[in-house]
């Protein structure tokens, strides 16, 4: 769907149209869910956070200002990122490794997912902000400007963070014996 059509749906939803908001959900829920799941690695919690993200989006639609430089999805990722940060901040218990689910079980293509297992394991070892920037930039395919908006940083800040994240990921892969492939 084109961004113009999305913006029309957003306007309708902002006027209280549930159906339009339902269509926005249908359109973006998978992307937002995949992003959240990659951060929390627990399906149930990711589903709860997904609902929270869209509820926050509904409640803030009146404040949403369309930006010609950023898509509506950028705004949703921004909410998702803050919600995940809040989730980690308020979560008192330390997540044990055995509580992290094997995401291959829920992958749309489990076999293919398993082929990339070495990459996901390295991802888990990354600091949260590095994993977030790599996910947004290369898995969700957001450009530097959109990432800057989601994470509240400058373009330069994003480029520096991305460089450090890639360097760190390579270092972990190397440590795990996957530095050449």
């Amino acid at each position: 769907m084109k961004e113009e059509q999305v913006q029309k749906l957003v306007q309708q939803a902002a006027r209280g149209n549930h159906e339009a908001f339902g269509r926005i959900y249908d359109l973006y829920a998978p992307q937002v869910f995949n992003f959240v799941l990659s951060r929390v690695r627990n399906k149930q919690q990711a589903e709860d956070i997904l609902q929270t993200v869209f509820l926050k989006a509904w409640n803030s639609l009146a404040k949403y200002q369309p930006n010609p430089k950023a898509k509506f999805s950028t705004w949703l990722f921004q909410i998702a990122n803050f919600t995940v940060i809040d989730y980690w901040r308020t979560k008192k218990e330390v997540v044990e490794l055995d509580k992290l689910e094997n995401l291959a079980e829920f992958a749309v293509e489990p076999k293919l997912y398993e082929n990339y297992d070495f990459l996901w394991q390295a991802f888990e070892e990354l600091p949260a902000d590095y994993a977030t920037i790599l996910h947004l930039r290369f898995i969700q395919d957001l450009d530097v400007s959109e990432c800057a908006q989601v994470l509240g940083k400058t373009h330069v800040g994003i480029r520096v963070m991305q460089h450090r994240a890639l360097k760190s990921l390579k270092k972990i892969l190397s440590k795990n014996g996957h530095d050449t492939f």
Partner: protein, 245 residues
């Protein structure tokens, strides 16, 4: 960036290779998209119902001082309107009371046409139905004009019918989504409408029996049968949906 060589001569991963690997990685997971959507939309509707309920509470909790100020301001406005209206009515131009009443109806109609969420619309419809029922009571008891009574009878049953249809539809949606709490709030509204209809039935029956109002007997009987069927409709909606729940 070009691939760098490691000590054992193997090519080390470059930034380009790593980013292309990340882009190709299958990061798509299954989840219950439909269930979350239903739950989300139900939560939104419930939130709106709660907001509407809070608004009503706030309105009824207006402090004495505020009420006093409002009453003074409203009284002044009425006096000004009545004063200028009286002058105009003396000149045979218009009647102040009916003008104020007509303005209220226009506002109500505008509010009913606003593209509001179902919960807020139901709340407004409830209040409009209550308002019209009150006006009907006044018209039946106080008005000397058969035309005013006929108009009030017609408007009251029409508004009541719209409110029952709208609220029943909203309740049905909540039942289908499994949101029993939100559905119960609509049930309460339907119960109130059925109660209003019942009060009107009694009033109209009383008037017919007493023979005080003779000009509108046909309309009164017609309204009585309409309002009875509306009450039965509201009661059936409460029963129907609660059985499904």
């Amino acid at each position: 960036m070009t691939p760098s060589n490691s000590n054992n001569g193997r090519k080390k991963i470059s930034d380009e290779r790593l980013t292309s690997l990340l882009k190709k990685s299958p990061a798509s997971f299954k989840f219950n998209q439909k269930r979350i959507k239903e739950s989300l939309l139900g939560q939104i509707e419930e939130q709106q119902l709660n907001k509407a309920a809070e608004l009503i509470k706030e309105r009824t909790k207006v402090s004495f001082l505020k009420r006093h100020r409002l009453a003074t301001a409203f009284g002044t406005a009425i006096l000004v309107a009545a004063g200028s209206g009286a002058a105009l009515s003396q000149a045979g131009i218009y009647q102040p009371a009916s003008t104020i009443n007509a303005l209220g109806h226009v506002q109500e109609e505008v509010m009913l046409k606003l593209p509001l969420p179902a919960a807020q619309k139901a709340d407004i419809q409830m209040r409009v139905a209550e308002n019209r029922a009150r006006k009907l009571e006044q018209a039946l008891e106080q008005s000397e004009s058969p035309h005013t009574r006929t108009e009030a009878l017609h408007e009251s049953s029409e508004i009541m019918s719209q409110a029952i249809d709208q609220i029943s539809g909203s309740k049905q949606k909540q039942v289908e989504r499994g949101r029993s709490e939100a559905a119960d709030k609509y049930s309460t509204m339907l119960e109130r409408l059925a109660e209003l209809a019942n009060q009107q039935e009694q009033k109209v029956e009383e008037l017919i029996e007493s023979g005080v109002v003779t000009d509108n007997n046909a309309e009164l009987n017609n309204h009585l049968s309409k309002i009875k069927s509306l009450r039965l409709k509201a009661e059936a909606q409460i029963e129907l949906t609660s059985t499904e729940q």
